[in-house]
């Protein structure tokens, strides 16, 4: 009772404030909990980082351990070996330390990778133990045995250690990301809790509100019951105010109102009756007019609209009230030709009737074509009474016509413009840009390795991808820009109305980012990247053809830059592209015109400095540009396939020339010929070589073929097969520019080779870089242990020569002895040596 005499506001607010404060406090508490869990997870992440660093340290230390061991093996002095052993011991100790750290200190954080880690540790310990055993052999001067042990240990452990370490690292990375995920989910969980508290607070408030309201409602119900009585005519039903709150006040004022209503009621009944009679009459006309399915409009003799039917409203959106009293002109759009209206009025004047197509505007502003029939209705004395128009919306028919038009101008698969309409729009855009003194950019977009997707997932998936790419492209550009698919996986974007060139870069970046995001193609996650070439009007071209061509050139440049990037067209690109094409053309001609020549660089035995071999090196004697070195045209030859023709020519020429020298007794060694990666894959290689050898009467033993490490690694199985076939011809094989990769050793054993060529980059720094010197020593030792010979390339100083000779490198080649010489130059060189 006491509560009831309080105001409603007070009845609500007190309990709500209490509940609100409680909810607020709880929320603050849960936020603090959230902060704590964030900190905890942050710590976890830091541990993850540390582990990653430890794994990297293990890797580095292991590779250091291996390098030191190689040095130990290559060493000939017990004292030197003792010093190296101390270093090895330190490395070993360091390795153990890292292992302990990773197992004890950090493993608590991530017990599930304990097994993997222990496997790595076990393998590495096994590897290190094997090495320690072989180092004992090495220290005992049993180098031969030590080398055999090492080869075995590397075969057995090294690749699995490396892959396990990689796996651990990968796990760590995954860990870090899953930590991030759990961080997020913890935040989400806490957030949910906070929300729940807030919500339940809200619910309690609502509950209170409900209780209070319910009490009020009960009293209002009573009021309602009373008002029903009143409305059913018992206007004098009794009602008493029971309190002084708002409900009580309402009750008493309603009581007053009931009385007033009672008075007004009689007046109302009369008015209603009159209105019903008038409406009946109108309804008859309206039904006839309204039920017509065709849109109809009636205007008076002054052509002011007096009525429209519901079909009219349906078709145009205008209701009668919108157009009443207005001239039908308000419906028209400016799309209908003036002549049509002239003809319309003339016909109405003369024949009282017109029909034809009008372009009108709907209420929503959209234009539509309609087929209209208009009659001028005249009275008995031929005076004009009104105009009656009826019409049909013919936009659907128009739509079909438009669709046919669309198909002619658009790409069926993606709905983008096709090449034809893109070019015509670009042409228009060029005219506008010219007039407005603006710029425009053409972006030529080609999807990288789209063919792979077609090949692996099928054309259907490829089509789906193209559609998605088209959609994303659309999202990247403004409405005024043109997007077209001009064939296969090639798209063009024309961006107009630019003030400067940088906008195109922003657009290209956007396209790169959007297109490169992964796609879901029938359940497969597919990623693809675009290469984009940009040309800008007016700088890069003033016609459609020029702009398209320059954008195309720039796009190819992007591909050359490693794909997934964009390039602005530059004049130098065009020159480069033209130059490339002209080099390719000239190179084909050069083969026919015999402009290619061979130079020969002798290789010397390090023992007695006798010439043991001649390396044939191809040069292009260009009629205008002089001698062109091979690095400027071999790549082009490889890419264009000319290499096969060129390679055969080199074989033929080198073997012919060598045969001549050999039979004249000038030289008693072999000729070395370089083999490109493409040639190595050629099926006819062995047959070609056999035929050429036969023609020039040169024996296989006089020929050495040099292949690069990378060419041999590219397709190892095929390479081994091919090299074995070549070996059957009696030729010997050399690995060019040999480095000391981890994978090399085991693989090297499988190749039927006889010689390693030590890369010039190692030789160059022998004197200054102890690492390079060690690599040279280890390579020589490894090669000799495998029964291979070693040729050092790029020997330029006496110090390099002495170092290499001292360490039993078998053969030397370089400017110190002789640069590559033309055949006549080599004649002189050999003759001079013979007479000296």
């Amino acid at each position: 009772m006491r509560l009831r005499s309080l105001r409603l506001l007070e009845q609500f607010i007190v309990p709500m404030i209490i509940v609100g404060v409680i909810a607020l406090l709880t929320t603050i508490y849960s936020a603090m909990v959230l902060q704590k869990s964030i900190n905890a997870l942050g710590d976890l992440q830091e541990y993850g980082d540390q582990r990653l660093r430890v794994i990297e340290n293990i890797e580095n230390t292991l590779s250091n351990f291996r390098a030191l061991s190689l040095r130990h093996l290559a060493s000939e002095s017990a004292v030197a070996m003792r010093d190296i052993s101390v270093e090895i011991g330190d490395t070993d100790k360091k390795l153990q330390e890292y292992f302990e750290r990773i197992t004890t200190e950090l493993m608590d954080v991530r017990p599930e990778s304990l097994e993997e880690t222990q496997a790595v540790i076990l393998m590495t310990r096994g590897y290190v133990d094997e090495f320690n055993k072989l180092l004992l052999l090495s220290a005992d001067f049993e180098k031969e045995q030590a080398f055999i042990h090492m080869t075995r240990a590397e075969d057995r452990y090294l690749s699995s250690i490396n892959s396990s370490l990689q796996a651990l690292k990968r796990n760590e990375f995954e860990d870090l990301s899953s930590l991030r995920t759990s961080l997020t989910s913890a935040v989400e969980r806490n957030l949910t809790t906070t929300l729940a508290i807030g919500l339940s607070g809200g619910m309690v408030i609502l509950g209170i509100a409900f209780l209070v309201t319910r009490r009020i409602t009960k009293r209002l119900e009573r009021l309602l019951h009373w008002s029903k009585l009143v409305s059913s005519g018992h206007l004098s039903a009794s009602l008493e105010a029971d309190s002084h709150d708002e409900v009580g006040l309402l009750t008493s004022s309603m009581h007053d109102m009931a009385r007033n209503i009672h008075n007004a009621q009689k007046e109302l009944t009369n008015a209603k009756h009159r209105a019903e009679i008038a409406a009946e009459e109108l309804r008859i006309y309206a039904k006839a007019f309204d039920n017509s399915g065709q849109a109809m409009l009636i205007s008076d003799k002054n052509n002011s609209i007096i009525n429209v039917n519901s079909a009219f409203t349906r078709d145009t959106g205008y209701e009668l009230k919108d157009v009443l009293g207005k001239n039908p002109k308000v419906l028209s759009s400016d799309q209908t030709p003036k002549e049509t209206y002239r003809e319309l009025w003339q016909d109405l004047e003369e024949h009282g009737f017109w029909q034809g197509e009008l372009w009108d505007k709907k209420k929503d502003g959209s234009m539509y074509p309609k087929w209209a029939t208009i009659s001028a209705i005249r009275g008995e004395s031929d005076e004009l009474l009104f105009y009656m128009s009826s019409f049909t919306d013919i936009s659907e028919r128009k739509e079909t016509e438009k669709r046919i038009e669309h198909l002619a101008h658009h790409d069926i698969l993606t709905g983008l413009l096709n090449r034809f309409s893109m070019e015509s729009q670009l042409d228009q855009a060029i005219s506008i840009a010219n007039r407005e003194k603006q710029k425009l950019a053409v972006l030529f977009i080609d999807l990288d390795r789209f063919k792979d997707i077609n090949d692996s997932l099928g054309h259907h998936a490829g089509d789906k991808l193209l559609i998605k790419v088209a959609k994303r492209l659309k999202l990247c550009v403004r409405d005024s820009d043109v997007v077209a698919r001009i064939g296969g996986d090639e798209f063009v974007v024309v961006s107009t109305g630019l003030r400067d060139n940088s906008h195109a870069a922003v657009l290209a970046e956007k396209i790169l980012a959007r297109i490169s995001m992964p796609y879901d193609i029938t359940g497969n996650e597919v990623t693809i990247s675009p290469s984009i070439g940009v040309s800008v009007y007016p700088e890069d071209g003033q016609t459609v053809d020029d702009l398209m061509r320059t954008a195309d050139v720039a796009m190819y440049h992007s591909k050359d830059m490693g794909r997934n990037t964009y390039q602005y067209f530059t004049e130098s690109m065009l020159q480069a592209a033209n130059k490339r094409i002209s080099i390719e053309r000239e190179l084909r001609a050069a083969l026919v015109k015999e402009q290619l020549i061979l130079h020969y660089q002798p290789q010397f035995s390090s023992n007695d400095l006798n010439v043991v071999s001649l390396e044939a090196l191809v040069r292009w004697n260009h009629p205008e540009q002089g001698i062109i070195p091979p690095d400027l045209f071999i790549t082009i030859a490889e890419e264009s396939g000319i290499i096969h023709e060129l390679g055969k020519w080199v074989f033929d020429e080198a073997i012919r020339q060598f045969g001549k020298w050999k039979s004249s007794g000038l030289i008693n060694g072999s000729v070395a010929i370089n083999l490109s990666a493409k040639q190595l894959l050629s099926k006819s290689l062995a047959d070609d070589l056999r035929r050429i050898m036969h023609v020039h009467g040169v024996d296989g033993r006089d020929i050495e073929l040099e292949i690069t490490e990378t060419a041999a690694m590219h397709d190892p199985e095929r390479a081994i097969e091919q090299l074995n076939e070549l070996r059957d011809l009696g030729v010997s094989l050399a690995i060019d520019d040999f480095g000391t990769g981890y994978s090399s050793l085991a693989y090297l054993k499988r190749l039927p080779i006889q010689t390693l060529k030590l890369d010039r980059s190692f030789v160059r720094d022998i004197e200054t870089d102890p690492n390079d010197a060690e690599i040279c020593l280890a390579t020589i030792a490894l090669a000799h242990n495998l029964g291979l010979k070693v040729v050092a390339e790029g020997v330029e100083t006496a110090a390099q020569r002495d170092f290499l000779t001292r360490h039993h490198c078998d053969f030397l080649q370089g400017y110190l002895f002789s640069r590559p010489l033309p055949p006549e130059g080599l004649d002189h060189f050999l003759n001079a040596r013979r007479s000296a």
Partner: protein, 256 residues
């Protein structure tokens, strides 16, 4: 022995077939010989060239590197001479030499030597572990047989562990002989008696019972066993005239 089998004929015909158009066929023989025999075998070879007109090429390396090179096809030779049994066995195991053709023409002895100008003296073998000697040059036991014999001797006499820290190895004997000639006075080397020159001073003769017998093993490589010229040269190398040259060079010639 002189009958040429059919499969052996095919590669021969092929080689002749491609060689005939430009190169006239001339007899040439290639010898792969252990470094220690290099000087002596060249003298024998010269005599043989004078007698027959057949030109001989020589590859001189440590026995082990020759064997590996022949196996890896980086060296081609008609005759192989090894300074120990191990590497000849390696050739036989790899099917490069037929065991029935192998002969043992010579033996050798090990000496401890110093540079000619060195004041060092050795009373006994144990002096190697003494304070006067700082460095001991050995052949690489893995590939150079004279190093293997020396290590055996040091191990047999229980000296190896105490002298090991003074050891520096060399890949082959000519290299060791050269290095020793120009070495510090406190350096000694253990090498074959046959490789001692005027630039060396012999300090000690190593007891032959401390190591396995030093024997040379000679055999024709692969198809060369069917080449009459090769067989002729093999015979010549073992004739009296040749043996005299080897004896004069310090080899033991009456061995079996």
């Amino acid at each position: 022995m002189n009958r040429i089998s059919y499969p052996g004929l095919m590669p021969l015909l092929f080689l002749l077939g491609v060689a005939l158009p430009t190169v006239s066929f001339s007899a040439e023989l290639n010898l792969a010989v252990a470094n220690s025999t290099c000087t002596a075998i060249r003298q024998v070879g010269e005599k043989y060239e004078q007698r027959t007109g057949i030109h001989i090429n020589y590859v001189c390396k440590s026995s082990g590197r020759l064997a590996k090179g022949l196996n890896g096809k980086t060296i081609q030779a008609d005759i192989y001479i090894s300074a120990n049994k191990k590497w000849m066995n390696y050739m036989i195991e790899h099917g490069l030499v037929d065991a029935s053709h192998v002969t043992i023409p010579w033996g050798n002895e090990l000496v401890v030597a110093a540079p000619a100008s060195s004041p060092l003296q050795m009373e006994s073998w144990q002096d190697l572990a003494g304070a006067d000697i700082k460095t001991i040059l050995l052949g690489d036991p893995g590939t150079a047989p004279f190093g293997r014999y020396a290590k055996e001797a040091l191990q047999h006499t229980g000296l190896w562990d105490s002298v090991r820290i003074r050891v520096v190895t060399k890949k082959h004997i000519t290299l060791l002989a050269e290095t020793l000639a120009n070495a510090d006075p406190d350096t000694v080397g253990i090498l074959f008696k046959s490789n001692i020159t005027e630039e060396h001073k012999v300090l000690f003769l190593v007891d032959a019972s401390w190591h396995s017998p030093i024997r040379y093993f000679m055999g024709p490589v692969g198809n060369a066993a069917e080449n009459p010229a090769v067989l002729d040269l093999l015979t010549f190398i073992q004739e009296q005239e040749s043996s005299d040259i080897f004896r004069a060079s310090g080899f033991k010639v009456d061995v079996e």
